[in-house]
């Protein structure tokens, strides 16, 4: 199915769902500000099929939330949007608020990050759900309320009829997030975008919320896009993963591929920041430095200032998102072929752990002898040394 899709083969078993619901091509979002233009999103492309779960991973400021708001058509008026966003073959870029209205919450719906502030404090939860239903269905208030109670039950809220007439402040955090999910599914949308749906919740509730999302997917065959900064949390439920850095996609592939064979050093570092039982007894290895300023992007590859494998080419030209040695696995990296040859890439970042240095540039300012990133030779020599010493 859809063999022309350059952006990774969909999971074989999701093929029966067929069509691509959402097709984003070369999306870019710029915000002109007083201090210069913020390039929030650059050259982002992906597709989402029915019943498919796409994970979008990245640090804050990597452009993941902005691209989802672009899909919803809810960016501020100052945003300059380029590229194409197609929903069921309808172009969304360029539509105004009114033209987007029938799609929002109906075709594509969104679950927002912070359930504490995302519900209106002065209306009951049922009222807010009913409003979402009535926005797209010409039904009576009573019918809309009944529908609200129904979806509350669907997302696992006990005593939904009593709960519907309560205000958000009477709900716990997990319950509010469930209510947000209920709001997103009340009109049976084709695409659900979940922006960090579990970040504000504690771990046990996180699992329940994700289970609920998967159950919804199974029941409605909606395509789900989960945005997160913590790949570990969603690893079990996503089909494909898209890693974002500096406003663009740097690596893309099936979840197993991404976990097993990273082809971009940033992904290596990102996974290294997650506690992993296999690395028990080892320290977490954070990536040195800070994400790039979206106003002043570094020349060449945006990750090059922090990358242990960076060579001159990385600092000169930004690489394309290309298929790697493994099919369906794409990376935006000049060094991905080289990375493939490194046996335990985690160690690339496993150095220099004396204190956490926020800004490596300040170190070189204080002592010019310290290199910001080690030279490739030095890293390889060290890896070799370590391997021989540990084995």
């Amino acid at each position: 199915m859809s063999g022309f899709d350059v952006l990774g083969e969909p999971r074989p078993d999701s093929g029966r769902d067929g069509e691509k619901l959402l097709k984003v091509e070369n999306l870019s979002v710029d915000f002109p500000t007083d201090d210069g233009t913020v390039h929030a999103v650059r050259d982002v492309s992906f597709t989402l099929g029915a019943g498919e779960v796409l994970g979008v991973v990245g640090e804050s400021g990597s452009g993941k939330s902005v691209s989802s708001m672009a899909v919803m058509g809810l960016l501020p008026k100052t945003a300059q949007i380029g590229g194409s966003i197609q929903f069921r073959d309808r172009e969304l870029v360029g539509l105004d608020y009114k033209q987007m209205q029938p799609i929002r919450g109906n075709g594509i719906s969104m679950i927002f990050q912070d359930p504490m502030t995302s519900l209106n404090p002065v209306y009951t939860v049922g009222w807010q759900l009913a409003e979402a239903h009535q926005a797209h269905h010409d039904v009576s208030k009573k019918a809309a309320w009944a529908k609200a109670v129904e979806v509350l039950e669907l997302v696992g809220i006990p005593q939904p009829d009593r709960r519907a007439s309560q205000y958000p402040h009477e709900f716990s955090g997990g319950m509010r997030q469930r209510a947000m999910i209920a709001m997103a599914i009340i009109n049976d949308p084709d695409v659900i975008i979940a922006d960090e749906p579990t970040t504000a919740l504690d771990v046990t509730v996180q699992a329940q919320i994700l289970d609920t999302l998967l159950r919804i997917r199974d029941e409605t065959r909606a395509g789900i896009m989960i945005i997160t900064h913590d790949l570990g949390v969603v690893a079990g439920m996503v089909d494909r993963v898209q890693v974002m850095y500096g406003g663009t996609v740097v690596e893309q592939g099936s979840v197993d591929e991404i976990f097993e064979a990273q082809r971009m050093p940033y992904t290596v570092g990102l996974l290294g920041s997650i506690p992993n039982p296999n690395m028990l007894g080892k320290r977490l290895t954070p990536i040195k430095g800070a994400p790039p300023s979206l106003m002043n992007l570094p020349r060449g590859c945006t990750f090059s200032p922090r990358c242990p494998l960076a060579i001159d080419a990385c600092r000169e030209t930004e690489p394309q998102l290309l298929e790697t040695d493994r099919s369906g696995h794409f990376a935006r990296c000049h060094r991905s072929a080289h990375l493939a040859t490194i046996e335990n890439p985690q160690r690339l970042f496993a150095h220099d752990e004396i204190g956490v240095v926020e800004n490596p540039a300040s170190l070189t300012a204080a002592n010019p002898a310290i290199p910001v990133a080690e030279s490739v030779e030095a890293v390889e020599a060290r890896l070799h040394e370590e391997e021989s010493s540990t084995s």
């Binding site: 915000f31 400021g61 496993a350 204190g355 170190l363 002592n367 310290i370 060290r382 040394e385 370590e386």
Partner: protein, 315 residues
């Protein structure tokens, strides 16, 4: 680990404080730059500086002293007397210089006094909570149930007696300023109390407490610096309010008394000249508006500079 240890500089305190300073300076630079880019605020600032120079040094350069009352009365504005002459035959420019000076100095005393009282009491109430908070908050409630103009008028009425009895030759502007300062601290105290109440629960305050910092150190070094934006903006706006409140008091005859003067008193004395000799009314009026407009612009610009939230694009 076999990795070569990087020669990270030892995090000694000198090094750390050096970093702190740079970041603090940068923050101030950012705020100043935002302020400078706020055109109205910059305009207000320049206007205010000019007004202060005019009020305090204008008299040195203007050809007539305010004591010279030998001109023809009620002369309309001319090249010789740009604002005309008043009912006593004094040059209006000289009178305005003096009135502006009094109005500005009263306003600044009021703003300083009310800000200091408000910040101290508000911080005490918010930080100590308990009965101190109850006492201060109830006292504020109490003062809020009587219009402040009336409290001011009652207090100032007393100053007529005080200034005469005190041998200050009837000069009462300082007393008026002190009394206005004594009743002007309510709103800033409420705001600071609210901010301190939430700041005292923050982790960095808990950390300071755990390290054994004294109460005054916590309040003055850790909590209040976080409210500095609100304090500065409020103090600025308090200047404008003080100018207007003083003018209102003078108008009902319960403010500054001769031999002192103020722009408000000048308008009040000339209120019946509005149709016949309008320059006598409008000259001090325009200067009051200029002072308070300039200060309001500065306050607004500072608020935006400290809190650029409304202009920042969500990314």
């Amino acid at each position: 680990m076999g990795a070569p240890a990087a020669q990270a500089p030892a995090p000694d305190s000198a090094e750390a404080s050096q970093f702190d300073n740079t970041s603090a300076r940068k923050q101030w630079q950012v705020i100043l730059r935002r302020f400078a880019r706020h055109r109205l605020a910059l305009f207000g600032f320049i206007l205010f500086v000019l007004l202060v120079l005019f009020a305090f040094f204008g008299g040195l350069f203007w050809k007539y002293p305010y004591t010279d009352l030998g001109f023809k009365r009620y002369l309309p504005p001319s090249a010789d007397h740009p604002f005309g002459t008043d009912r006593l035959g004094g040059d209006m420019v000289a009178q305005i210089i003096r009135g502006t000076q009094f109005s500005i100095q009263i306003a600044i005393v009021v703003a300083l006094l009310s800000t200091v009282i408000g910040v101290v009491l508000g911080a005490l109430a918010g930080y100590l909570k308990g009965w101190v908070d109850t006492l201060i908050s109830r006292f504020i409630d109490l003062l809020l149930v009587i219009p402040s103009l009336v409290i001011a008028a009652v207090l100032v009425r007393n100053s007529f007696v005080v200034s005469v009895a005190g041998g200050s030759g009837g000069s009462n502007w300082m007393i008026v300023a002190l009394y206005l300062g004594l009743i002007g601290w309510l709103s800033i105290a409420r705001v600071i109390r609210g901010m301190v109440l939430s700041l005292r629960e923050k982790e960095f305050v808990e950390a300071a407490r755990a390290l054994g910092a004294s109460t005054s150190r916590i309040v003055f070094r850790h909590i209040l610096p976080n409210t500095i934006d609100v304090i500065i903006v409020n103090a600025t706006l308090a200047i404008a309010q003080a100018v207007l409140l003083e003018a209102a008091l003078s108008f009902i005859g319960l403010g500054v008394q001769s031999p002192d003067t103020s722009l408000g008193l000048m308008i009040s004395l000339n209120k019946n000249e509005l149709t016949l000799h309008p320059w006598l009314f409008f000259a001090p009026f325009v200067f009051i508006v200029l002072i308070s407009l300039a200060v309001n612009f500065i306050g607004d610009g500072l608020r935006d500079a400290f809190d650029p939230r409304q202009k920042r694009v969500k990314a």
